[in-house]
């Protein structure tokens, strides 16, 4: 019972709000990541955003700003490189992901910046400040608003690009906005689960939601609800077992998926 009362401690309230807000955006966007098979893209964006952390630490500006900046720049680079040089997306992602992560680690070593690497790799939501919670929430609300506006266009483009364009959907504008939204979701989620686990926040709730959903919107709503409950039960698990918060949240969402899968198999849908 002591563990449950921990839920109402200020640090825990901050963690719940911060992780909840970030995971709502990630889970909604995650539907597109599942539909468009962009899991590796999310991974690459997350890994390379570590460079932002390093740049922030080395040059002494806000690490959060560095994260968002590098994620957006990488998303735009991907967009441009794919258009201009027609490099294979998969290869390009591998280069950017590992190039970024490696460069970040080298930078930190050369400039002898001692940052809590672990916190950025696996998240550190229990240490989040009120200021950061407000930033995360504002970012998530903004992201969800943009996603709502673009929703029909993005779904149509996912179904068939040519058909969507004939219906007046602007291809480039939607692609570009989507990439920036992905960058935003990644930047917001680093604090929660760390760069190594962000993809889980994107795809697992969406994949679980897919099991029971009958419409794209239904899938997004279920994905968001699953993510929020994953955060709540993940943080309870974390305090109960005295385990790190980020991995606990991801473990719970993975558990949801397998329970859902079993339920669908048993009930036969």
């Amino acid at each position: 019972m002591d563990n449950l009362s921990l839920l109402f401690e200020p640090f825990m309230v901050r963690a719940l709000l911060g992780a909840g807000a970030a995971s709502v955006l990630a889970a909604a966007l995650g539907c597109f990541v599942v539909w468009r098979q962009m899991a590796y893209f999310g991974d690459s964006l997350a890994h390379s955003s570590m460079l932002g952390v390093a740049l922030g630490a080395v040059f002494g500006f806000s690490v959060n700003l560095g994260l968002l900046g590098v994620a957006v720049v990488f998303a735009l680079m991907l967009f441009a490189m794919q258009l201009r040089w027609r490099v294979e997306m998969d290869t390009l992602l591998g280069i950017l992901a590992h190039g970024g992560l490696a460069t970040a680690l080298v930078l930190l070593a050369v400039w002898r910046r001692r940052i809590d690497l672990h916190a950025y790799l696996f998240g550190d939501i229990l240490a989040v400040s009120w200021g950061e919670v407000v930033l995360i929430a504002a970012g998530a609300v903004f992201g969800l608003g943009v996603l709502a506006v673009l929703w029909r266009g993005l779904v149509l483009l996912t179904l068939d690009e040519n058909l969507a364009r004939l219906h007046g959907i602007k291809l480039r504008a939607h692609q570009l906005s989507f990439l920036v939204l992905m960058a935003l979701a990644v930047a917001l989620s680093v604090r929660v689960v760390g760069v190594l686990l962000i993809t889980a926040l994107l795809i697992i709730p969406a994949a679980t939601a897919r099991l029971a959903a009958r419409s794209p919107e239904g899938m997004a709503v279920r994905s968001v609800m699953l993510a929020v409950s994953g955060v709540v039960f993940g943080l309870i698990t974390s305090t109960t077992l005295n385990a790190p918060a980020g991995p606990s949240i991801v473990m719970v969402t993975a558990g949801q998926f397998f329970v859902g899968l079993a339920a669908v198999r048993v009930l036969g849908r």
Binding site: L156, N162, L166
Partner: protein
């Protein structure tokens, strides 16, 4: 009245010529079929005419506010997106909820009946058979009461009876609504059996005209082989005989 007028379209991609000085015009109540081997630039030409792909040189003039209905080639339902036929039609502006008002054209029920998809509306898009999927796409294309239907291999992957049914449906739509149709087709036996105008494309327009004439054209024979050309000529010959009496009912140039 010309709906789309494409003049001297040339398009190169990665140093390869896809379209070479192609001119094609489609007018009101036309029914035009483009045939040609794989990689002939047929789909690209359709996209250029719709304005989805920009031509390297040449000009495309579309009638102002032209309403185009389009069936893309090889549409596959996204396997991981849960979506019903009704919701798909909603999203494309064809659904029951998407304003069946005066200007958006056809009443949804009429449309569903015309394309024979009433029983499919609650089904997941992925669960449709090939023929069902094509009828749903057709309903989607017809929703905006188009002046022009652009169909990219609409009967692809249908079995023979499915093809027959689909082309009969297209014929009926063309006859009843006077909607212009511009179609790419691989179903030579269907195309050549009709009396519609055929354009044979292989990067440039090799020949065009009535199917019989096209089948006798040396370029057509070179592209599709002598056997195919012979078969077409024979097929059409027999066809002429059996159907020569009730002709004229078609009113194609009306």
């Amino acid at each position: 009245m010309t709906l789309i007028d494409a003049k001297n379209i040339t398009l190169c991609y990665d140093g390869k010529t896809i379209l070479d000085d192609v001119s094609l015009k489609i007018g009101a109540a036309d029914f035009l079929t483009i045939i040609g081997p794989n990689g002939a630039g047929k789909s690209t030409l359709l996209k250029v005419m719709m304005g989805l792909v920009r031509a390297g040189s040449g000009a495309v003039v579309r009638q102002k506010n032209l309403r185009i209905g389009y069936m893309p080639q090889g549409f596959r339902a996204n396997p991981s997106m849960p979506i019903s036929v009704a919701r798909f039609l909603d999203l494309t502006g064809a659904g029951a909820g998407a304003g069946a008002g005066a200007e958006s054209g056809t009443e949804f029920e009429t449309l569903a009946e015309l394309a024979q998809i009433e029983s499919l509306l609650d089904k997941p898009l992925q669960a449709l058979s090939g023929g069902e999927r094509q009828r749903v796409l057709l309903a989607q294309a017809l929703a905006a009461a188009p002046q022009l239907l652009i169909l990219d291999e609409p009967a692809q992957n249908l079995d023979l009876s499915g093809q027959l049914a689909f082309y009969a449906l297209l014929d009926a739509i063309h006859r009843d609504t006077k909607t212009s149709i511009l179609m790419v087709s691989h179903d030579l036996h269907m195309v050549m059996a009709s009396t519609r105008k055929v354009v044979c494309l292989y990067r440039h327009i090799c020949c065009s005209g009535e199917p019989q004439m096209v089948a006798r054209d040396p370029e057509f024979q070179r592209l599709f082989g002598d056997n195919m050309a012979e078969m077409m000529a024979v097929y059409h010959h027999q066809h002429d005989h059996t159907h020569s009496v009730p002709h004229g009912a078609h009113g194609e140039d009306a």
